[in-house]
């Protein structure tokens, strides 16, 4: 299984889409995964599945995932905090299906694992959690999706502008998951391992004594001024968790 997240693809940044989809196609050919799971924030913003009609990027992504599906890969899409309105229509365009927000199960190597986007574990970011509660309510979503596409895009622009301002003033301790919350959740679900994205702080670390977590990298288009490339994913096999980087791509 190949998992990745936090690509934040957008029509304004076609170079990032080139980079990410190129890497994905190459990884599918190289590792032949049984599944590709995108664990949220595939898109920088998503205001409804009708956005696919206006977005060349969305069409390219659907095409790439559908292409992988034709090679025998199952496609799963988890919703993130930016693309929480990703729906069944878009998943269908990718020849895939939507994943639940919190997946619990045994990985190919037998480790009981909890997989999620990660925003739900940021319990110290009360401002964000309030927004999350509001926008996950079915009534809110129905009302929002009832507006014309252009109006939803205008609203999304506004929200993003406000969020950027707020982020600049948030202390970095808030901007990570609350480790105790993660441990509690793992215990409750009978898991010993957590895989998530969202925080843009990739790595592998211990959680408490008996638990471990893997955090997926976020993506950034390669630039001549930057040596270090951001992107990649994790390959989950019978031998365990393998980091797939982008430095040789």
């Amino acid at each position: 299984m190949l998992v990745l997240s936090d690509l934040h693809l957008a029509d304004e940044a076609p170079a990032l889409t080139d980079f990410a989809l190129g890497w994905l196609t190459q990884s599918v050919d190289r590792h032949v995964p049984s599944h590709i799971w995108v664990l949220g924030d595939l898109f920088d913003a998503w205001v409804g599945d009708d956005q696919i009609g206006l977005s060349a990027t969305a069409q390219r992504v659907a095409g790439a995932l559908e292409g992988a599906h034709q090679k025998g890969v199952s496609i799963g899409l988890m919703r993130g905090n930016r693309d929480f309105l990703l729906g069944a229509d878009f998943a269908q365009a990718c020849a895939g299906s939507l994943l639940v927000d919190e997946w619990v199960g045994l990985l190919p190597d037998g480790t009981p694992t909890l997989i999620c986007h990660g925003d739900g574990l940021c319990l110290d970011d009360t401002e964000y959690l309030a927004f999350r509660e509001q926008t996950r309510a079915p009534e809110w979503q129905q009302a929002f999706l009832g507006q014309p596409l252009e109006q939803r895009l205008a609203v999304a622009r506004q929200i993003r502008a406000q969020s950027e301002t707020a982020k600049a003033t948030k202390p970095s301790e808030i901007m990570d998951i609350r480790p105790s919350a993660a441990v509690d959740r793992l215990k409750a679900m009978g898991c010993t391992q957590l895989i998530h994205g969202h925080t843009h702080r990739p790595g592998h670390s211990a959680l408490g004594h008996d638990f471990q977590r893997w955090v997926l990298p976020d993506w950034e288009a390669p630039a001549p001024t930057k040596d270090h490339r951001r992107g990649g994913g994790l390959l989950l096999t019978q031998k365990g968790v393998q980091v797939l980087g982008v430095s040789d791509f």
Partner: protein
């Protein structure tokens, strides 16, 4: 001036060639080429706009020429009964599809020449047959494949002609 004859009546567009020269030239060319004949208003949202000029009654897209520059920074506003060019998220992607505003849609107006702020280019207005626009905006709509807000009974543009 362009006269549109539709399955629900006729209306006339007066184009503002001074404020949107490239858009008007592009649009008039499509009219003269007969492009709009047989297309439908495929996206109708009451209180917002009616959009057409791209698909035929079977929802097949008609081929278009190259996209044009976005002339939205011309001071014209997306007010009721104005006509503007539809496009994708790419600011300069307009080809043939147009829409007629049925409300004052401020959020569609140009704000800044950046990806998010380009707005939609207004290039004229409905100067006759506004009642036909008001009849079209209230038709029953539904889903058609990935398209939403599609009139259940096709609203067909039978012909579009330049008036002398």
């Amino acid at each position: 001036m362009i006269e549109f004859k539709t399955s629900m009546g006729s209306f006339t567009l007066t184009l503002n060639t001074e404020k949107a020269p490239k858009t008007c030239e592009n649009f008039t060319q499509y009219v003269q080429d007969g492009h709009f004949d047989g297309t439908i208003f495929h996206r109708v949202i009451d209180g917002f706009m009616i959009q057409g000029g791209g698909f035929d009654a079977n929802m097949n897209q008609k081929p278009c020429r190259d996209p044009i520059d976005n002339e939205a920074a011309n001071g014209l506003k997306n007010n009721r009964y104005t006509v503007a060019m539809a496009r994708t998220n790419d600011p300069h992607s307009a080809t043939a599809q147009f829409f007629i505003n049925v409300a004052d849609n401020d959020f569609l107006n140009f704000r800044a020449p950046m990806a998010d702020g380009w707005g939609y280019a207004v290039f004229g207005e409905v100067t006759a047959g506004q009642d036909v626009i008001d009849a079209i905006r209230v038709v029953k709509t539904g889903r058609h494949g990935f398209h939403q807000d599609v009139p259940v009974e096709p609203v067909v543009i039978e012909s579009a002609r330049v008036l002398a």
